[in-house]
Amino acid sequence: MKRPVAVVGVGQTRHASRRAELSIADLVREAVDRALLDAGLEHRDIDAVVVGKAPDQLEGVMQPEQFLAGALGAHLKPLIRVHTAGSVGASTAIAAMTHVASGLFERVLTVAFEKQSEGNAMWALSPKMPFTAPLVAGAGGFFAPYCRAYIARTGAPLHIGPMIAANARANAARNEYAHLREPMTVEDVTNSPVLWDPIRYLETCPSSDGACALVLASEAQARRGPRRPAWVKSAASYAEAMWVPGRDQVNPLAGRVCAKHVFERAGIRDPWREIQTAEIYVPFSWFEAMWLENLGFCDVGQGWHIVDRGEQRFGAHLPINPSGGVLCTNPIGASGMLRLGEAALQVMGRAGDHQVDGVKNALGHAYGGGAQYFAMWVVSTEH
């Protein structure tokens, strides 16, 4: 990174299964307006706009950033549109950060969104693929076998997934923007129907309408802002091929490599001790345990122990997803940026009721594809 970059503004929508009172532009503006207000800036202060979202089939509009150019304040500005599947919100924020790091842009607005209620999300995500048999409906069907493999490898007891889900809901109750906020017990989860064994209904992410926007700025601009910024210490997005013999889908190499990259560049040698909170992409409960290992917070096989001991709960040693995470809010395009934005809010001391005490360093993480795309950053109170 050529020069320091900071997050100076964060905005997000109230996420819900259907924001029927808003058009696509309205949804995007709810997040954008909040981010600009948060940063104390106006559209004319923004030098470039970086947009991210997941498959356009979800809204039935191809490249909607084109018709949204006006709503995004992008007229006569540079604009790009990123799409890296589930990780897109995060890789988008990182692309925006790179714009500022290049020295060519002082303040960049980045937005990630999905208004998936507009289309038929199930169809959009699982259409009939040519030349292959349709086998499962929904992403859970693809990932459930790997959750099973994790359980088999580690001997994790079956209550771990439900514990993670119940904890996520408890966290979401402290997040005014989250989609699913009703508390539920471990028993509620265990009693809910199995969708794709071992994944149950109440440990599955919802389908949400939502948007997130951030303003990234250079050091000079960040220091002029009204509030304490979140400095981006390091960031990277990696991808790996799917059909590599011996590829590990439970502990993907791209995730391990990406985490190592960002921790090293951020000068973090012991993430478990030096990171105070992490917003990681958990669409199905078991991934929380799996990602703790993949990210290097603990050794392989130990992730579920952390959950069992409650060490990743709010108020415990390393609160994971204090916002409630993807399990409680999942506008696909926005989810990755929400992770990175929530990590920034934690460092800025502005996460409201879900603020973790004493955050100096936070990790934001997202993944996508057949667990092939990984995008993450470390944000800090210092640069």
Partner: protein, 166 residues
């Protein structure tokens, strides 16, 4: 002139209908045609010798081209699986059903397929399975020529044999 609407318009319905006509590609087409003859073909990497099924034009691992098609056994081992309770669009499958990742003998990557002819809770990681084909005369050279996989009854394979072949 008609009265203007009293209620503002809130929703616009747009039915999007887009036909697509896909190319299988010679590589996939050969694989599909071989299914008619009850043959499963894989492609071998010219550099590492690893075998990919269905065949790919190159190895994603080495980036080298694959140079020959080889016949893979129509039996292998379940490396992992899930039991599905949600119906698939466009297909009438009795719920619950099992989808498994299957490492066929001779292949270096796994395929995904249904496992049937046993109760879902009887399926195990390490279980040996074999393809159940459509009868002679009914196969058309499409992915539907393999109906599903079923247990062979052989002893399960030890974990080490498939644990890193998800």
């Amino acid at each position: 002139m008609a009265e203007p609407p009293v209620e503002p318009i809130k929703y616009v319905d747009a039915l999007v209908r887009l036909p697509y006509h896909y190319v299988a590609g010679d590589c996939r087409a050969r694989y599909l045609r071989a299914l008619k003859d009850k043959k499963i073909l894989g492609a071998r990497c010219s550099q590492t010798g690893k075998v990919f099924v269905p065949p790919l034009v190159n190895s994603p691992e080495s980036l080298a081209p694959t140079d020959e098609l080889v016949e893979i056994a129509d039996r292998g081992v379940v490396t992992t699986f899930c039991i599905v309770n949600i119906p698939v669009i466009g297909r009438a499958l009795e719920l619950p059903y099992v989808v498994a990742s299957i490492a066929l003998d001779g292949a270096d990557i796994s395929i995904h397929a249904l496992v049937q002819e046993c109760k879902p809770d009887e399926v195990r990681m390490g279980m040996r399975v074999e393809a159940v084909w459509k009868p002679d005369g009914e196969r058309e050279g499409s992915h539907e020529d393999i109906l599903h996989f079923r247990p062979t009854g052989e002893p399960d394979m030890p974990r080490d044999a498939f644990l890193n072949r998800l």
